[in-house]
Symmetry: C2
Subunit: 520 residues, 2 copies
Amino acid sequence: MSTPRRSDPALGGILATDQYQLTMAQLYWKEGWSERTAQFDYFFRSYPDYGDHQAGYCIAAGLGWLLEWMEGARFTRDDLEILAAQRTVTGEPRFDPEFITWLEKYGDFTSLEIRAIPEGRVVHPNAPIASVVGPLALAQILETHLLNRLNYPTLIATKASRAKEAARGGAVLEFGLRRGPEQGAHAGGYGALIGGADFTSNTALSTVMGLDPKGTHAHSMVQAYMALGKGELEAFRRFAELYPDECVLLVDTVDVLTSGVPNAITVFRELKEKGYRPGGIRLDSGDLAYLAIQSSVMLDEAGFPEVPIVLSSDLDELVIWQILSQIDSEAPRYGVDPQKLAARLVYGVGTRLITSEGDGALGGVYKLVALADDNGEMVPAIKVSEDVAKVPIPGVKRVFRVYDRRGLATADLVALADEDPASMPQLQLHHPHLGLQRVLAASEVSEIEELMVTVFSGGRRLDGSPDLEELRRRRDADLKRLDTGVRRLVNPHVYHVSVTRAMHEMQKGLLDEALDGADI
Amino acid sequence: MSTPRRSDPALGGILATDQYQLTMAQLYWKEGWSERTAQFDYFFRSYPDYGDHQAGYCIAAGLGWLLEWMEGARFTRDDLEILAAQRTVTGEPRFDPEFITWLEKYGDFTSLEIRAIPEGRVVHPNAPIASVVGPLALAQILETHLLNRLNYPTLIATKASRAKEAARGGAVLEFGLRRGPEQGAHAGGYGALIGGADFTSNTALSTVMGLDPKGTHAHSMVQAYMALGKGELEAFRRFAELYPDECVLLVDTVDVLTSGVPNAITVFRELKEKGYRPGGIRLDSGDLAYLAIQSSVMLDEAGFPEVPIVLSSDLDELVIWQILSQIDSEAPRYGVDPQKLAARLVYGVGTRLITSEGDGALGGVYKLVALADDNGEMVPAIKVSEDVAKVPIPGVKRVFRVYDRRGLATADLVALADEDPASMPQLQLHHPHLGLQRVLAASEVSEIEELMVTVFSGGRRLDGSPDLEELRRRRDADLKRLDTGVRRLVNPHVYHVSVTRAMHEMQKGLLDEALDGADI
């Protein structure tokens, strides 16, 4: 064995997949099926459930970075040598040299086409978020890459959207890099910035996203002054001299109310005299609601009613909600207007955002739903399961979002490829795993929107390479058209994802057939 | 704004830090302190707590990859241009051109020295796992990188060690890439392989670690055959023809006991006739304990009593423990010897391992503990906190592991730099935040081992660049010397981490002084 290297190019390449994708690809090649057209759908089966609270929608994120990677991904000479060197338990080469030659020739993603719901949009369970169509072997090899690059950013974008909802419009700052999952923390931060975080402390990520990085200072700065015989006030003063127009002071290194806030006020007065607006204070420990109220009283009295108060320390949507509820009930006792206080609060959200506290993984899956027969016709594929909720919606399909007369999204509808719900006099909405859910007359519908667009073809991303502003615009537009019950943080109203009657019947027929045809 | 790019080199570089590290570094530079020697300690305050169960030790992981990155990290011309282009809210350059020139000259980690507990070893709270000594500004900038690259792998190594303990010697396979945190999943897999996983399905990571990647096949393979009018048996047969000496069959695509296992047995018989040993079956859904028992009965009857049974589907240490407990009580009813069955089980552990289900972050911190005064003497630094458990152990220090007469580790002991516990007639063990814990006479001690070694100096890693075998050897040796109560999965016995009497007094003195000296 040799020293493992993080910088080994294999870790960023096409071999960063599950081994069985490669052994299955070789079997398909052996069968002569490697170039047979297949369709795999990417979807998740249930929203994140954080235990005490649950998501009622997700924000799709990660697609742009997946497509960017796919444009450049291919089996390199080194990759092929690695595969050629693999041996089975009895010492035989695991991969046929002719299969390796096939990979050398066809081993990239230029032959795949992807249709997807655009990144940044609200998405729901069971309906596909992405459909991958192309040669069976390559679509199979893509599985792990696609799941790895979509599941986690979508999970974090969803959590960030919830934090932003809880914050009642207050700014949310992503602070998760230090406790986040090594280099995956960048993808988490990316998802957070799409989903709801306004800024991040991560300098590199900020640069990539076109944002100004945000930050204050650490306890270690005050400690350094103290270790050299100076005090907190001196530390604040020197920091303010260097950063007079964006001076945010961390006030809990010694004691918030007897040292930190009084010293910050002294320094803010000095800044004000020089014509600067103080940047704010940051509270990083203790009872944040109580300390925010008391600090605001002190800042108000000192003539700084506008100065922001940044809160941090294990925040997430539930903690933010609790803090604001506590402020609502307690602030008036101290003569503080809760709404005015809420308006000056900023939230630094770290560990609990980047790890999606309460539910650390999105259960996104990638399922074979159709395969070309010998005549090139796409045959629907079904996966039987004892658990009916695990049966994917089979076949080639289209996905629509149905808006009610208020203009709010009322259901996502999965139809057969040749169905057009807009021309139907009424919509029969069937639960994807149970029976009929409801019927919508055309008069109850204000708009039917097709959701999936082609985002990858000919080896190129065709998603318009959206910038952050565009991604956030999509999120905002979708959130505005979502029922408030669905946006609730705890026990949200269940949004309907349905299949058309024709899809329902096709699914049922296939399931019966598969159970009859089992080799038993 | 432009399209955010995952491949932007900034994301793997030195700017992948929290912005405040850079603004603080500039303040230190302004004060003339940037090259003043500082010491920061990396440690965590409490073991992962998964809710129903808790860790009683951690496995240190990530150091090798951190040091590898540090060897090459420096402020590039692009990085410096990014900083030079930053503007404050009033449009002023945030960074002084002279500070940027300083970064250009000194902006790498060649001036830092790191002492650490070697990677792969058992570690405990409060005692430093790594101490970074060097110029204040650079040690400060390293903070986010070090935390990002050590916290997560250590978290996953710890979880993997627990899964391996639960598995009673059964092989543990890491399957987490698809649900893991984007590219951070490689670091998670790396931690898992050090901590307890025997193999991984991740082909690229296996190659980097010097392991053979493991895998079976997916449901999609059986589905593909079914979609083309063939059945599960045909799929198994063709797979076995291609991989006769390592044929592991996934038996739950249709139905485990009426289709999957009977078809697998048919194929195994064919393999046996050709002189091959079947590789095993995999169960991926349903009541895994029950299905394992029933499958083993069928395999035994068919003459395959040795064939492994791979279990997967949301496994972690608690689920594995439950499965084996259920087998212990149920297997005899079906005439199956529980121990024989346990010996053929293999565990594919995915989502819950790579996300550390139940506790998704290690709370590792990086605290300033000493700073050189004007005479170059290292002055201890203290951080006051209302929560006494959050006060770090100050100053320059040494860490020892004390073994009892049985040769088992009984305490980790943090001493002043000039103390030698081996020469003390008795050891006074003080809790790092409370009073005296216990006194150990020299006669009760079989060995005192110093834990930290120099792992980075002169810009080079000096940790011996251990391979996986060496890292696992360290883990195994430490686990053998750990009390079984500490290794318990639920409510483990609390291992003592202590400070010497002299350290205790120094800490107390500093704390009193800091509280007196607050500027109030």
